[in-house]
Symmetry: C2
Subunit: 329 residues, 2 copies
DNA sequence: ATGAAAGCGCTAACAG
DNA sequence: CTGTTAGCGCTTTCAT
């Protein structure tokens, strides 16, 4: 790795002259600049990132903690963050909490050692469940800005980017009803997390008499759904997460329901599963990439001005109709 | 952010004493150590990562370039890398090439500024197609070690971790034949990439007379498969990538094929799609997490000894039977 | 227009 | 056992 010093020696000028020339300072004569630039190019000089960071006291890097990398929704958000960060000359370091509070804490601790200028995260399942916020407060005491995306903790005022879960869910119930489907079930495998709760509140605000199957994860979901479909009269189902959507669809087909004639299914969409389901699921599109982009922008704003008021961006969803839903309107 | 200097001042000792105490040096008396450790803990001292890196001339960070973050297979590899790296005290920086040569080059260039100690990557589709290796050679001239995973470039001797694509594919054809299925088709949407080519060679080594549908991406695949199934007599299909698998399954069901009675389907497995297909696809499991882990280990070995011979690790796949395949053996 | 010097926070060789 | 000093590679202030 070639350094400023080596360039300086070779040209018999001082290190500071080289440094200034490379940053196109007006202090340096055009001639000297040209000479220096030429050699730098020839030698393939790249400034040592670590040294620059140490000197500038900033890393031009953001840290991201996602709860689960196997969830396509989060990888899409990641993509949004990464591409947006790149545009502004920021790098992205990614860690995964695996929905564990402990892993999340460790990530934040690591990020706190000066590795990043700011943090983007969706709190883990555990963090939300136990409403743990100490580790976030510590971040704040260290003056490391952070932004929540997708999930958040009510008790903690902060910057966040979320979707309008409540309304999105409510509207689907209204849609079913307007289409004459009144035996409605709601299925969720994300009972604990904030988005799951909001969606549930949304459906209940539309109709108090829904059949609800709710679990903390997709384990056993298959059996519960089968039981529901066998015992109850149902002609419309809203699934609050994509895995529930696909599982419900498959169970319904196994039980020989005619879809969408006898049974309409709509699902919140987190990824790629619904796209390749058969028949293709009608989904509530969450625009994950945009969530990522907006989150990064929010962080960037705060990086530039730490005194800003905390901001919450709520993104709208869109209902994308496919073959799993009857639509007579 | 609290520094060594501040701790030193507060305790009226020198910076180096504090530094040594915190690294538990035998040079420091037990008493002084205790005092220093206590204050460090109280003040929540964390060594500044950037400074340590600059001093040590290493970053304890590896850079990863994946072609596509929407492919579950790569996120699994990522998970393997990240968790293994973490165990060895390494951080992971992730970039995405989007299958573009240019993006890949930019990532490597960025990594070359001293941000990482080594690099793990799967070359982009374009890189493989045009057999571009200049940017890898430049890495080598800068003495930054790198390891390929999943995909590789024949022309470049290097460390790599791959699966036994050739044999895995061949064996499935043999399996079909032993089960009396002789009208076999092979479907692929990964024509360009090394794994796709190897798998194709594998099936051809088993049987030269297969019906092959091969595309560069999944665009138009649907139509091509439909055409095949309508025109040709087929009772067994091997899909060389998961997307082909799921698409083929759905088309076959749309055309009312009885699966697996009339048609058996086996697919290479990259992710989560096949798991939630209906009926569930029989898959060739590629143990992605292990690919990630082994890749990191290979890189770690080279980081420790740059003189090692280049190594190629070939991981075995396993055939996981599900309902999409008839198995009479 | 150029250079000398200080310093970011840390480690480590060397001196005492 | 503790401290002094130098230096990683860079930027920036101040002097010339």
């Amino acid at each position: 790795m070639i350094t400023l010093k080596q360039l300086a020696q070779e040209l018999k000028v001082s290190v500071s002259t080289v440094s200034k020339a490379l940053s196109d300072s007006h202090e340096i004569s055009a001639e000297t600049k040209k000479k220096i630039l030429a050699l730098a190019k020839e030698r393939n000089y790249i400034p040592n990132n670590t040294a620059v960071n140490l000197r500038r006291k900033q890393t031009k890097t953001v840290g991201v903690v996602i709860p689960n990398i196997f969830n396509h929704f989060y990888t899409k958000i990641l993509h949004g963050i990464e591409s947006e960060a790149k545009k502004s000359g920021y790098k992205t370091i990614i860690t995964i909490s695996n929905e564990k509070l402990q892993d999340e804490k460790e990530s934040l601790e690591y990020f706190s050692n000066g590795s990043v200028d700011g943090i983007l995260l969706a709190p883990s399942d555990e963090t939300e469940k136990y409403k743990k916020i100490d580790h976030f407060l510590e971040l704040r005491s260290k003056e490391i800005p952070f932004v929540f995306f997708d999930r958040f903790i009510d008790e903690l005022p902060c910057d966040k980017v979320i979707i309008d879960d409540f309304d999105s869910a409510k509207n689907v119930i209204h849609f079913f009803e307007k289409n004459g489907m009144n035996d409605i079930a709601v299925i969720s495998s994300i009972k604990n997390i904030s988005t799951g709760k909001l969606r549930k509140q949304g459906v209940l605000s539309a109709n108090k008499n829904l059949k609800i199957v709710e679990l903390e994860s997709e384990i056993n979901l298959q059996d519960k759904v089968e039981e529901l479909l066998k015992k109850e009269k149902v002609n419309a189902i809203l699934c609050l997460d994509e895995l529930s959507g696909v599982i419900t669809l498959n169970i319904a087909r196994k039980l020989k329901f005619k879809i969408p004639k006898e049974l309409s299914i709509v699902s919140f969409n987190q990824g790629i599963l619904s796209k390749y389901s058969f028949p293709r699921l009608t989904t509530i599109n969450q625009h994950a990439t945009q969530i990522g982009r907006e989150s990064f922008q929010l962080l960037l704003n705060r990086l530039q001005d730490s005194k800003l008021e905390y901001q919450t961006k709520v993104l709208k969803t869109s209902l994308k109709f496919h073959k799993s839903t009857k639509n007579t309107l």
